[in-house]
């Protein structure tokens, strides 16, 4: 069967996209600019701007001189491919094979698809009108080869549909730019008087090769169909999910566990082959009474181990109420990330924090008691005790700064300092006696004070003078006075216990 290709050209792709983001700009001239060699250059202009005579490559000041009510936005670099990819994914409803043609078009392999919309004309009309309805001005052309379709979509002005085998006739009247050539070659062609493709199509190949190189011959052959062209199709991402319909509603825990195992057995090999691991997964159970129950799991590092994920789900299966029975199980991996394959070590002592089994253990614990109750601390560059530690975001985080070991720090720190009553003999001396929770402690030994200033840019309050004290029995405490000594009314607190 003769292959048929359709080329779609978006002459105003980037400006159309910008207009979709800012609807108030529609209908007025708009340019997208980018700095280039110390000048601000127009990189894209919409139809209204082009009608005023603005062209790509002009400086922005020149463009502003042409028309007063000109809107200017920055050109978003490296976004064309993403926009084209999204449009391409949408186009998959018209043909299974869509390829991106950077920087402003798409190529569709439409062989055998057009009859669903009547004929090729109906197909083309439908697709182009839909795209224009979405806000993207598009031009399309259909031909036997990609090259001819590309050329006609951009430069053709007779008919957008080139019937089978008519490529030579369709492109002979088009300028040499329609062959997707380098600027250098087209300039040379124009200089020599070859203003249409037809004027050099019949020139001897050896002469063309000698003067313009191999690429001209190749592009010409591609457009005429004597050489095939390879395209890379867009592959839509398949969501990481698995379905398991049950022939009869199930309600026993064993059946539910079997279902989970089956779902994981089909999901995990795919994850493994792609080098991915589940961070978050949800199991949805659709019940016979049209209700839905779901359980979710999360892992600390991505995992694609069937046994591990199964254990995590098993910790929660008791939360599933089957009621009349479950008809359909749906397992969705909502968050998936790349995992690094770990190399096994033959020597060394105990494995460290990066160990796989440790992450699995913490996942199980998190599944049972909740992930926010597992904490790991890293040093933070603050003297204020409450701020001197910070939570580590993951097991791989390394301390950015050294742990503070210069001053005495208590093994147990109260989250809220406890007010105490003290008796001190001299100002700026440690207390002689203090009582806490109704117990009187006579201080026999003390170290201090260690003054820690409040960081005024972070919090309000007085500085603290810390004392490490020991009572008659040898019990050690970390006390502080908030602010300066002011007679009997000093505010004293117990903040920690030493070992």
């Amino acid at each position: 069967m003769q292959r048929r290709y359709m080329a779609i050209w978006f002459p105003y792709l980037m400006t159309d996209r910008a207009t979709l983001g800012n609807p108030q700009l529609s209908g007025s001239p708009l340019i997208l600019v980018t700095p280039e060699r110390n000048r601000i250059v127009v990189k894209a202009a919409n139809r209204q701007a082009e009608e005023q005579g603005i062209r790509c490559g002009m400086t922005a000041t020149d463009a502003r001189a042409v028309t007063a009510d000109l809107h200017t936005l920055d050109y978003p670099h490296e976004k064309e491919e993403r926009i084209l990819r999204n449009i391409g994914l949408w186009c998959i409803r018209y043909t299974p094979f869509v390829a991106i043609d950077l920087h402003d078009g798409l190529i569709l392999d439409i062989s055998g698809c057009t009859h669903l919309w009547g004929d090729e004309r109906g197909y083309l009309k439908e697709l182009v009108l839909k795209l224009r309805g979405m806000g993207y001005y598009a031009r399309g052309a259909i031909a036997d080869t990609v090259g001819t379709a590309w050329a006609v979509a951009r430069f053709g002005n007779i008919s957008p549909i080139v019937s089978s085998g008519e490529q030579a006739g369709a492109i002979s009247s088009l300028p040499p730019e329609a062959l997707r050539l380098d600027q250098e070659i087209t300039d040379k062609l124009h200089k020599l008087g070859f203003h249409t493709i037809g004027s050099f199509m019949s020139v001897q190949r050896t002469i063309l090769r000698r003067r313009f190189g191999e690429s001209l011959l190749l592009q010409l052959a591609r457009a005429l169909g004597s050489v095939d062209e390879h395209l890379t199709a867009i592959v839509p991402p398949v969501p990481y999910e698995e379905r398991l319909p049950c022939p009869e509603p199930v309600y026993t825990p064993e059946a539910i566990e079997t279902a989970i195992e089956k779902l994981l057995e089909s999901l995990c090999p795919r994850l493994q082959s792609e080098g991915k691991g589940v961070r978050k997964a949800v199991l949805k159970c659709f019940r016979a009474d049209n209700k839905q129950v779901q359980i979710s799991i999360s892992t600390i590092g991505g995992s694609h181990s069937i046994s591990h994920l199964f254990k995590l789900f098993c910790l929660q299966t008791e939360k599933i109420e089957p009621a009349m029975g479950i008809e359909l199980f749906l397992l969705e991996a909502q968050k998936v990330e790349d995992i690094d394959p770990v190399q096994e070590k033959l020597w060394a002592g105990k494995p460290g924090l990066q160990d796989h089994a440790l992450a699995e253990l913490l996942d199980r614990i998190a599944g049972k008691i909740g992930p926010d109750r597992i904490k790991r601390y890293l040093p933070s560059e603050h003297y204020w005790p409450e701020r001197s530690v910070q939570l580590a975001a993951s097991l791989n985080d390394k301390p950015q700064t050294a742990w503070y070991v210069a001053g005495p720090r208590p093994v147990r720190l109260l989250s809220q300092p406890e007010p105490i009553e003290v008796m001190s003999l001299l100002p700026d001396y440690p207390p002689r006696v203090f009582s806490c929770k109704g117990k009187r402690h006579i201080v026999t030994r003390a170290d201090g004070p260690e003054r820690i200033e409040q960081e005024w840019w972070l919090g309000k309050g007085e500085h603290r003078d810390y004392y490490a004290v020991e009572d008659e029995e040898g019990l050690r405490y970390w006390l502080f006075r908030s602010g300066h000594y002011d007679g009997e009314n000093g505010h004293w607190y117990l903040h920690g216990y030493f070992a």
Partner: protein, 287 residues
């Protein structure tokens, strides 16, 4: 089988057969029959002079049969000095459950200090420690002064005792950990047995800090500790705080000898303090 040996012809071989016969009738005494057989065999070989060596040898054999491995040449010293001699084979039992009784927060802190000192040795070769507690009040920077890198500790806050013990048991089954420390209210025999079974598989050391001394049921742990603060002492009675000093009591040691010691943490290791009477009190006695 049952042997009657005629009088006057008693030989060690016969005697052992005789005893074996007696104990065969009892199901659980197989091990004793082996021990007795060995005793008698040895007694025939050895004279009275090397009885002490014999008893030592037998003790070692008994420990071996009970699952205590003889210390290898390169076994780790925990730096506890003579306290380690209280344990079977004179080795601090890693891979078992240690129970520490703490009546109040101060004692629990002293226990945490002792445990941190021990952890610094256990974590020298890498590994991670899990610290499970009901209250989230351990201050990580302080553990740095006990020679631990606090970022290799993972803290897990639990809501109640059953949850704490569940987490501890799960964690003890994983051999990659250096140790697991759990602070709970109480621990009964069944729970401690479960923990002991978990560590027998993984050889992870578990510390249980329990703060309800009133309900002190027998447990399956290898040792029961009490750590109390003692007033610190500086040289020449200088003012200020000295090194933390504790009275460490081993109330119960499986196959070991309980005892009481005074130790200090001197910033990088434990130091045993010899009991010495001050001159002042001696003078008072003399007077």
């Amino acid at each position: 089988m049952f042997f009657f040996t005629p009088p006057g012809q008693t030989s060690s071989a016969h005697c052992s057969h005789y005893l074996t016969g007696i104990f065969k009738s009892n199901t659980n005494t197989n091990i004793f029959s082996i021990i007795f057989a060995e005793i008698l065999a040895k007694m025939a070989m050895h004279t009275v002079q090397n009885q002490k060596a014999l008893i030592d040898h037998l003790q070692k054999s008994i420990l071996k049969w009970e699952g205590y491995k003889a210390p290898s040449e390169t076994h780790e010293r925990m730096g506890l000095g003579p306290i380690e001699a209280a344990f079977p084979n004179q080795v601090f039992p890693l891979g078992s459950i240690h129970e520490m009784i703490c009546a109040n927060t101060e004692q629990a802190t002293a226990c945490a200090g002792l445990v941190s000192g021990l952890l610094s040795v256990m974590m020298q070769k890498g590994g991670v420690c899990l610290w499970i507690s009901l209250k989230d009040n351990i201050f990580p920077p302080a553990l740095g002064s006990f020679g631990i890198s606090p970022d290799r500790l993972i803290f897990i806050r639990v809501m109640n005792d059953p949850e704490a013990l569940w987490v501890m048991e799960e964690a003890l089954k994983y051999p990659g950990l250096a140790a697991v420390v759990t602070e709970v209210r109480k621990l009964d025999f069944k729970q401690s047995r479960r923990l002991q079974l978990a560590v027998e598989y993984s050889h992870v050391t578990g510390f249980v800090l329990r703060n309800m001394p009133a309900k002190m049921a027998p447990t399956a742990s290898a040792a029961r500790w009490i750590v109390k603060h003692l007033p610190s002492r500086l040289e020449d009675d200088m003012p200020g705080l000295g090194f933390p000093r504790w009275q460490v009591s081993l109330l119960k040691v499986r196959n070991g000898n309980p005892g009481k010691w005074m130790i200090e943490w001197t910033g990088d290791k434990f130091k045993l303090i010899e009991e010495q009477k001050s001159i002042h009190s001696l003078e008072q006695k003399a007077g």
